[in-house]
Symmetry: D2
Subunit: 142 residues, 4 copies
């Protein structure tokens, strides 16, 4: 019997007051946190925690970006859709789209790498098998 592999997760979310700025819209830095919330929710759904530290591994981000199409405002309800875009031996990339209903609000991407301590620094390491076996690349969006 094999457990389900995850390639996509959809998180329903509402804009909190403290996420807005004095231009009246969600501050652009928050979209990166929305992405991360959906990513971590997908890991939990897969029975994992990004912070388990099992096997001494960590998952720092290598890059992150967003294109902003439309603003979000206080109390707007929206969806954060995160998809596994690529998986390597020791790195993983997600794509992310934020929607309000059918309207695309923003599109982002982020990559992270699996690392272990190496003296005072860090070095790339293969994903633990119980991590890598729980994810697969999402089919290309139609």
């Amino acid at each position: 019997m094999t457990a389900r592999r995850w390639s996509e997760y959809r998180l329903r979310r509402r804009v909190n007051f403290y996420e807005t700025d004095c231009a009246g819209i969600v501050h652009f830095s928050w979209f990166f946190r929305y992405l991360e919330e959906a990513e971590h929710a997908m890991w939990r759904a897969a029975g994992l925690s990004i912070a388990s530290g099992a096997g001494g591994v960590g998952f720092p981000r290598v890059n992150a970006s967003f294109d902003y199409h439309r603003p979000l405002r206080f109390e707007d309800e929206f969806d954060v859709v995160v998809r596994v875009a690529a998986i390597g031996q020791s790195s993983m990339r997600y794509d992310c789209e934020i929607f309000m209903g059918d309207v695309r609000i923003a599109s982002g991407t982020t990559s992270m790498v699996c690392v272990v301590r190496d003296g005072a620094g860090l070095k790339a390491a293969p994903f633990p098998p119980d991590v890598i076996s729980r994810f697969e690349v999402a089919p290309t969006a139609p």
Copy 2:
């Protein structure tokens, strides 16, 4: 020769864009971070770091409060004045006032306690001598 003891610290600060909310003013949660910035700056001035972990001690907060008198807005320049209000064997209380020029914007207070690990939990412990010797209670404001 004895090192100077610290009882007060004044931090000059400017409101960042991301600290404002869609009411056009600094979100009330930020004042607690302003207080903490001034507290940590006083510790640095005293040659200490709240996060040194030396002797296995930590300093969790027991309480924190603010009274809000007037709003702060984007790019306002203000002063955060933190004062040592009380020192015990294993706890310390600060008062904090936030000013814009002569105008009092907010007044707060916070207490923290010195702790060490105790099995799965934490228990109060005396401050390390090199910490407690660097602070003294501020004279009462006139």
Copy 3:
């Protein structure tokens, strides 16, 4: 027919990664945002929005405080219970308790005041009837 009056709201929430600090626990400033999330959710449940601006009124905070009993950690699931503690003509006070299961994590309070613009400043104003009619003081906790 009268609409239900609200005096208490319970919000289920999970700790996000970005809410933790390098001491490994939720930063104390976040509890004030948790309180506000539950407050605004209660207003929405009552058919209101704190940011509607209807009648030109706003609701700035006058004070806010928390006592911290135990830490929260990444991915902990917790409840934020906000209760209407007092209602005046132009001010309202909430109490807040944060629980993880039966364990009390933190207890807080905040007051806000109903204001209208008055020249360059603000002055207290009676709550609009459609706001005040939707809340009532919670019975004292047993």
Copy 4:
């Protein structure tokens, strides 16, 4: 007499406690705020404010990205260098590099567009002359 044109700004900054996460390093979302702090400081140095609203214009972001090379930790002192990378009639792009001493911590970029209200939405508009005249593209880094 012509005022100086700005193409680069360097902001000295120290990591605050609340900017770190339970992995012990600055959360990746904060780099976008560091970039913005340096951007707004450059505008102030140029005698401008991003939030002036003069002429009814606003400056929403179109995209933002960072590549992360090394982590920042609590109390690390670092420099945020923002450079004008491109200026169009109604858009502007900045590059950003974050250094700790000589060590490159992160590299980012962001674009924003000058907009005016257009019914319920926004449309691109030329920069006001007093804005555009204060900036110029930075020479390519050696």
